[in-house]
Structures are given as C-alpha cells and as structure tokens.
C-alpha cells in the first residue's frame, strides 16, 4: 500500500464540493445557485483530471493529513473507483447545467429550491468519498452523508406527496445504514481492523463473519433498492423534482451497489458460497421481471421511469452469481469473469446516463404540459423533437438494443451467463428486455399519436431539452471507448477476479 503513488486528487474530490457547499450557504439564493453551479463544474473537471491521472499512474492513494492508517484516513483511487467517479462527474455536470436552467424557469427561487445546490454538492462529496474509501467505517460515514442529503433533496419540493415518500425513504435509508453499521461493529469486534485490504487477508470464516456479511448485504440491498427492498424507491424517485430524481436514480443507488461489490469481492470471500451468489441472483432476476412489469402497468411517466430503475438495478444483482466461482475453478480459467464484470460496469454506466436523461425529459414534459400522466406525451414528436428523441434514445439504451451502452451490458451479461454454464439466467435477461421494450414503446407510440383532447404544450427552455438529449446520446457514446475502458479496468485489482468458493474456509482466491 505504501509504495503506491500519492496524489492530491482523492482529497480534492471530496474537499472541494464540501467547501463550495459550505461557502454557498452564506449567500443569497441567487449567489447560492451561482456558486453551486461553479462548484459542480469544478468538481467535474477535477474528476476528469483525476481519472486521467489514474490511467497514467495506476492506483493512487492519499493519506489525509499525512497520517498512516489505522490512525489516519487513507483514500484510494483505483481503476474501478476512477470509472465511477468519472461517471458521476459527467452525469452530475449535465444534471447541474440542467438544474441551473430548471430552477430559473420555476421562478420561485426564493423558496427552498436554492438549497438544491449545497445539498447536491454534499451528496457529490459523499459519493466521491464512498468510491475512494478504503475502510468499512468511512464507507458508513459516506453512506450517511449520501443518505441524508439525498432525502433532503427528495423533499425539496415541499409537496405533501414528496414529504410522505421522503419520510419512507428516510426510514429505509436509516434502516439500511444501521444494518450495515451492525455488521461493521461485528467485524471490528472480531478482527480489530476496518481496512478493506487487511480484512481480505485476516477475515476467517465463521458464524460471526457470515452474520456480518448477511446484515451488511441486507443493509446495502435496502439502500440500493434491491428486491424485495425496493418499495421505497418508486415513490421517492417519482415525487422529487426532475434534477433530483435524475441524481437519485442515476448516481445515489449506484453507491450502495459499489460497496456491495467491493465487500463481496475483496472482503468476504471466505464466507461466500455458490448458494449465496445464486440467492442474490434470484433477487435480481425477480427485480428485473417484477420491476419491468410494474413499470409496464403504470400510467404516469415518472412512475414508469422509477419502476424501471428497480428492474435495471436487478440486472446488477444478477452479475453476482457469475462472480462466485464453483470450488476448484480458478479465476484464471474462468473465462466468463471478464464479460460479467464488463456487464456490471456497462449496466451501471448506461443506466446512469439513460435514466438521468429520462427523468430530465419527464421534468421537461411536466413543465410543458403540467402533469406527467402518460397522455401528456401525445404528439410529443410534433412539438418537442429533441425531448422525443431523448426519450427514444434513453429508452433504447434501457431495452439494451445496439449500439447503446445498455446493449453492451446485456451482451456481456448473456455472454457471461452462457460461458459460466448458468444458462437459467438467460430467459430473465431476454424477458426483461421485452418487457422494457413494452413500456418504452408504449411511450413512443403515444409520442407519435395525434394530440386528441390534451392540454397544449407550453414553451420550455430549449437548453433543458439539449441537456436531456446530451445525456441520452452519451448512453450510446459510452460504447466507443469500451475496449479501452475494459483494458483500463483489467488493471484494477478487483476487476476480472472472482471469488473461489472453497469448501472448508480456505484462502481468498484473488488472482
């Protein structure tokens, strides 16, 4: 660990948004928004620089205040973290630009709306911190920061519906955190360390470890709305303001997934069994089918988009059974690991771009028509070409049709499924795609249909449409650097490895 190159970026990526958030609190609404936007753009630029540095130097670290762990806090940015941070930067920057114009157009800028900016900056700092953290307790802290700012953002509109669903969201978030913290305490009690890497080496299989794994996984599943803990997500995401919904669905849930991935791959190898992988895979499979079906049954645009998140997150869970290797199979000989990893990364990326775009488009439609019942989409193509195109492109990416990022995810997932011989997951992927096509094309059909007796479209700032469209287009563009990105990730310790399940609490198979 000590021989890794040091870099200031990890600290800046957390520090800068926090500083800008605090600074903006001292200003009037107008200044708050301005400083907020500047903070967002700076953070994004910083993230891009940090990304480039990791591509050049490999994993970099930063010791806060120069202290060594366990006394000090060590931030660590490897390729996987860099990709997540880069994604947050691109999606975050576009949402911020949208939000700037969006709140302008609301002309109630004296209300609580300007608080969006400091809250979003805190959230961003939390996300960056999460991706960079290297020990269990710091991860808990970042989860809390994210959870609290996310809930505050969710209730920003102050509407009754938002408050009710926000409260549910808060309860779920707290339950999740507590469950996770309980696991952390158990681990610390039995090993005396919180450092991820050290834990990977010293953790021994046993009831305490298994129990800790269980409660931490449960907590994180609640946080990422994994089936059957998805109940809080649709109301929370659909009742928020458009930029907030976009942030919550594109980025916030990914944080919990990221921790889950790291824990399973790097820490709890000793306690994982083939059955555990299958179990989480089943949860994912049900989420895919159930979430898509629910989305198909909804009649309001934002609820469709929100339920679709449940399904899309399900695909992420379906990667886990592929990452756990049957005993006797080494990671080197398991040729499905790389496709499985690629699938998870591309599913995360494409969902982030596509879903953010979708929620931003929904916001535009609410602004133009006044409500988001699906009839509001009638004749969208005739009136708002760009938004119609954005919805179309984002939808296609969610379905997973080529050449979108979602296609890359589904292709790699299916490939991994077949190569690993776990063919029973394949129908789920395909049925999920078909159901997704069902609700996406239901929307597009309306977009082409004649107006009927619908409220007319009010003019909406063009710039909003541009940002939504840019996000949708990005969900396609991410395919272009795939080859490079995968090679970059293969350099990371986690990526490309799997967990060997050894019958009697054997060694951690990471090679």
């Amino acid at each position: 660990m000590t021989d890794l190159p040091t870099s200031p970026y990890p600290a800046l990526l957390v520090g800068l948004p926090v500083m800008m958030a605090i600074l903006s609190l001292f200003f009037r609404p107008r200044g708050k928004a301005f400083l907020g936007l500047i903070g967002c753009l700076l953070t994004a630029v910083l993230a891009i620089f940090a990304f480039v540095e990791v591509t050049q130097l490999g994993t970099v670290i930063h010791r806060l205040g120069g202290w060594e762990p366990p006394l000090g806090i060590l931030l660590r940015m490897d390729a996987l973290a860099a990709v997540f941070i880069g994604m947050t930067a691109l999606v975050g920057a576009l949402i911020s630009l949208y939000a700037w114009r969006y709140f302008d157009a609301q002309d109630t800028s004296t209300d609580g709306f300007p608080l969006f900016w400091p809250l979003w900056l805190f959230l961003w700092a939390g996300l960056n911190g999460l991706f960079l953290s290297n020990d269990l307790f710091n991860l808990f802290v970042t989860l809390e920061v994210i959870g609290i700012s996310a809930v505050a953002l969710a209730v920003l509109s102050g509407k009754a519906g938002a408050l009710v669903s926000g409260l549910r969201y808060l309860l779920a978030a707290i339950t999740g955190s507590m469950s996770y913290l309980f696991g952390v305490a158990l681990i610390y009690g039995s090993t005396g360390t919180l450092d991820l890497e050290m834990l990977g080496q010293v953790l021994e299989a046993g009831p305490a470890t298994t129990f800790a794994l269980l409660v931490m996984t449960l907590g994180l599943m609640i946080k990422m709305a994994g089936f059957p803990f998805h109940f809080w997500l649709p109301p929370a995401h659909s009742n928020s303001l458009a930029p907030v919904s976009a942030l919550l669905s594109a980025l916030v849930v990914k944080g919990a997934f990221y921790i889950l991935l790291r824990l399973w791959m790097e820490v709890f190898g000793v306690s994982l069994t083939y059955a555990a992988g299958q179990l989480i895979g089943v949860a994912g499979a049900i989420a895919v089918i159930w979430g898509s079906w629910q989305a198909f049954m909804q009649t309001s645009l934002k609820l469709i988009v929100a339920h679709s998140s449940v399904a899309q997150l399900g695909y992420l869970l379906m990667v886990f059974p592929l990452l756990i290797l049957p005993s006797g199979v080494s990671a080197a000989s398991a040729d499905w690991l790389s496709p499985a990893w690629t699938a998870s990364v591309y599913q995360v990326l494409s969902h982030a771009f596509a879903k953010a775009s979708f929620f931003l488009s929904a916001g535009i439609i609410v602004m133009a028509v006044g409500h988001d019942r699906i009839e509001s989409l009638r004749d969208l193509v005739g009136h708002m070409r760009m938004t119609a195109l954005a919805i179309g492109l984002a939808g296609v990416s969610l379905i997973g049709l080529p050449p979108s990022g979602g296609f890359m995810g589904k292709w790699m997932l299916l490939k991994g499924i077949f190569l690993s011989g776990q063919w029973w997951w394949a129908p789920v992927v395909l049925v999920g795609s078909l159901l997704t096509a069902g609700y996406i094309f239901m929307l597009l059909r309306l977009a082409f249909a004649p107006t009927g007796e619908k409220e007319p479209f009010q003019p909406v700032p063009k710039r909003l449409e541009v940002f939504a469209l840019l996000l949708a287009v990005s969900s396609f563009l991410i395919v272009l650097p795939a080859d490079y990105l995968i090679q970059f990730l293969e350099g990371s310790e986690v990526f490309g490895s799997g967990i060997e399940t050894v019958l009697k609490g054997g060694a951690y198979g990471n090679n």
């Binding site: 490939k415 190569l419 395909l430 078909l434 597009l444 004649p450």
Partner: protein
C-alpha cells in the same frame, strides 16, 4: 483482418450524416433538406460504384473497430455485400426522388427524410457487415429507424400498425440476440465467409449449433416475413407509399432475406446446412410461405395489401433458393434479391401514384386506369409480368434459375411449387392489369387530387418509369456482363467451387 480502407465507413455516413443533419433542420428549410438528401443519395451510389470497380480489380475494403475484447465492429465489401449495397443505394436514390414528389407539402418532412436516411444507413450497414455482431447491430438499428416511418401518418391505424411491427421485430430481435450471443460463446467471433469455424465444431456441439441456427433463422425470418412470422408486413402497409416501397423492396424484408443468405452461405456453410438438414426445414417453410402468401393475396381488394401479401410470397423465393443446394438455385436466390426489389418497388410506386392522384386505394376502383395513367400502369404491367415470370422480364430469370436448381438437386416438388405460385401470381395480378387496360372507367371525369400537365407529378412519374424499365432491362440484358444475373452467378459459382 485489419483496416485497409475507410470507404465502407464513408458509404455508411453518406446517408447517416444527412439523416442526422436533417433532424436538426427547421421544417421550412426545404431546399437545404432536399439538397442534403440528394447529395447523400448520389454520393452513396457513386461510392458504391467506385467500390464495385475496385473490388473487380481485386482491392479489399475492410474497416475494423474493436468495441470490446473479441467484440469487433467490422465492415467489409465482398461481392454479395456490394451486390446488396448497390441495390439499396440505387433504390434509395430513386425512392428519395419519389418521396420528395409524394410528400410535396405534407407535414413532418424533416422527421420523414431523417429516418428515411437512417433506414438506408441501416440497410447499407447490413450489406457491408463483415461479421455476425455487426450485422446484428445494423439489423436492430433498422427496426428502430423504420418505426417512425411506419407510424409517420400518426393516425390511429398507423400507430396500431407500428405497434404490431414492433412486437414482431423486437421479439424477433430478442431471439436473434440470444442466437448471436450463443454463437459467440460456442464458436467465438465469426467473420462472414469463415465457414470452417462451424465446420470444425459441428461434430463436437451438434445440438447447440443446431438450436442456434434455428434461433438465428427465426430472428431473421421475422423480417423476411416467413410464415408464421409474416403478420406485421401486411399491417404495416399503412405507411406512406415511398416507405412501403422501400420496406418491401430493399430495407426490411430484404434485410431478413439477406441475413438468411449470409447465415447459410457465410456462417454455417452450405455443406453443413445441408448435412444437418437445416436446408430441408427452411425449404418447407419457404415453399409454404410462397403458396400461402399468394393465396392470401388473391382475397385482398386493398391495392397495397395485395402487394404486401405478394411480397410475403415473393421474398420466400430467396429463402427457397438458398434452401436448395446447388449453384444454379443460389444464383436464382441471389439474383432475386435484386429482381424482386426493382419489381416490387415499381408496383408500390404505381399504387402510390394512383392513390395520390385519384385517391383510389382499392383494386375494384382501377377500371380504365391505364388510359388515365398510361406510363404508371405501363410500368406496373411490366412488373406484373416480371412477378409472374413471363420472359423476358426480370422475374423470369429468377424463376428459371430456381427451377434449374431444383432439377439439378432432384427436388422436383419445387418445380410444382414454382408452377402453382406462378399461376397464383397471375391470378391475383392479371385482374389488375385487365381492369386497368380493358375495362371502361366507371365515371368519365374524375377530379384529380394532384393537378398537372403529366398524368401525375413528374417526380413521382419518373421513378416508376425508371424502375419499370430497370425490371425489364434486368431480364432482357441478363446475359450481358455486369447484369445482376452475371454477378449473382459469379457469387454462386465461387461459393460452390471453393
């Protein structure tokens, strides 16, 4: 394979870029839109011609872009691909001219022409694909880019047809996806023409490869409208005439048929496909579809619907030709890719001209139409004779080779299918010709929806005359070097000699 040329990419973007740019234009920028369209269309024809002569000289045009480890985007110009690319680029040019006249001052033209260009990009992409995955990418892209065209009118009918279209094509696409991924897992990346890969694996994985063959065939069969997967085609004829023309002649159904040609000849190889009895199954379905489509066509009074069922039948000639092993029948199949295209596009142009000029959409209204629109109906009549297989029109050549191939392979039942189908073709097409030329019109004076000196607008008249003459010329000059037949024969002979 490595990149040797950017020409394939240029051929693709000659329609992609106009498509994207037109999407950004304002509706009233007519001149700019038209210039972009025509420029792209001419550029594409020119580049395909250039590539064709280059290919004849022995140049190779490969473009490779690695998307992910062993997921390669590959474009390659081979004889078969160029053949199909030539068809789609020429017909795109002609249809663009037609569409400019047809839509005239109609609404949403930007959207129309943009997706029209994207649709052609997709079908050219299918033609130029160098491997299975690239083919799949464009195949799905085609689905998406044609959907807005099918629902273009925005009426309830059109939207409902779009829905049917999507369910079929997305469903088929999903099955194809499964097959393609499976093929990747079993056999790794396959470039078209590398039939030795499957040949080497077939004894090890006979069941898997057979299942995959039929999965892929099913996915392709949806677009090729093979019974029982044809349901979307007659429904989607609600689309505007230029769209139907392009859909039926070159874009969608041909993508499916072309895919079947690729699957059998360039992925599995004829030898394996025959040995494993895949071809026998395909032959049965194709033969049944030929008869079924014709029978259904008999009962349609709606002009375009009759044409649509005729397409169901005619496209399966291609599949049938592929399914009969032998160089002669594959010549018939490959040449029919082109012949059916020019004949059917002529018919849809003619139907569009009648509907736009007089508002007649039913066959029972066509009495005396030959006198009112002699050029249109003349071209239509040529196409009809071609479809029936009367020498020397284009369709005769296709059927002749299919028949010869059947004799060569000893599949005499195919001759029977060809005869029955020709009789049926005559039975549902000739009444139209008869009405047009030999029946008295019911009313003497009918108001024209599109007034003008010519029988209809010049931009709609010229294309139909051109394609009508082309479908005659393809038959008359079949023996001349450079005719579709000569090229098809070369491709087929190469296939069987190697």
């Amino acid at each position: 394979m490595e990149t040797t040329s950017f020409l394939p990419v240029l051929i693709l973007i000659s329609s992609l870029i106009p498509g994207v740019l037109i999407l950004l234009l304002r509706e009233e920028q007519v001149a700019l839109r038209t210039s972009l369209n025509l420029f792209g269309a001419f550029a594409k024809v020119a580049m395909v011609a250039w590539a064709f002569f280059g290919y004849m000289r022995g140049e190779t045009y490969d473009f490779i872009f690695s998307l992910a480890p062993d997921l390669t985007f590959a474009l390659r110009l081979d004889a078969l691909g160029l053949f199909f690319a030539a068809l789609s680029s020429v017909l795109w040019l002609i249809t663009t001219v037609y569409a400019i006249g047809y839509l005239d001052k109609g609404p949403h033209q930007n959207r129309f022409f943009a997706f029209f260009s994207l649709c052609v990009t997709a079908s050219t992409g299918i033609a130029l694909s160098g491997n299975v995955i690239t083919f799949f990418i464009f195949y799905e892209f085609l689905t998406l880019s044609t959907y807005p065209l099918v629902v273009h009118k925005g009426t309830d009918d059109a939207v409902a047809a779009g829905r049917t279209y999507l369910w079929y094509t997305i469903g088929g696409g999903t099955v194809l996806f499964l097959g393609v991924v499976g093929l990747y897992v079993v056999a790794g990346p396959i470039y078209f023409g590398q039939t030795e890969i499957i040949a080497g694996l077939i004894s090890e994985f006979p069941t898997q490869l057979s299942i995959l063959f039929f999965l892929i065939l099913t996915g392709l069969g949806v677009k090729a409208a093979i019974f029982p997967l044809h349901g979307w085609l007659p429904t989607s004829m609600v689309a505007p005439a230029p769209v139907s023309a392009l859909l039926h002649a070159v874009a969608v159904v041909k993508a499916g048929a072309f895919g079947i040609v690729r699957l059998v000849y360039d992925v599995y190889g004829v030898g394996i496909a025959e040995e494993m009895n895949y071809l026998a199954v395909l032959a049965v379905f194709a033969a049944f579809t030929i008869i079924y489509g014709s029978v259904r066509a008999l009962y349609q009074d709606d002009f375009k619907k009759r044409l649509a069922f005729s397409t169901v039948s005619q496209v399966s000639y291609i599949a049938l030709g592929v399914a009969i092993p032998g160089a002669l029948s594959s010549t018939g199949a490959i040449v029919h890719l082109v012949h059916q295209g020019i004949m059917k596009i002529t018919m849809f142009f003619a139907a569009g001209n009648v509907a736009e000029t007089y508002g007649y959409k039913k066959i029972s209204q066509l009495n005396g139409m030959g006198r009112r629109m002699p050029l249109t109906m003349g071209a239509f009549t040529i196409a009809v004779f071609g479809m029936i297989g009367v020498p020397p029109a284009a369709g005769f050549i296709s059927k002749w080779y299919l028949g010869l191939g059947a004799v060569e392979a000893g599949s005499y039942w195919v001759i029977l299918v060809l005869l029955v189908s020709s009789a049926l073709n005559a039975a549902y097409f000739l009444p139209i010709v008869y009405r047009a030329w030999f029946c008295e019109p019911e009313q003497e004076e009918v108001p024209r929806l599109r007034p003008g000196r010519l029988e209809t607008q010049a931009l709609m008249l010229i294309p139909v005359v051109v394609t009508g003459l082309l479908s005659l010329a393809a038959g008359v000059f079949a023996a001349v070097a450079g005719s579709p037949l000569s090229i098809a024969r070369e491709i087929a002979e190469k296939l069987y000699l190697l």
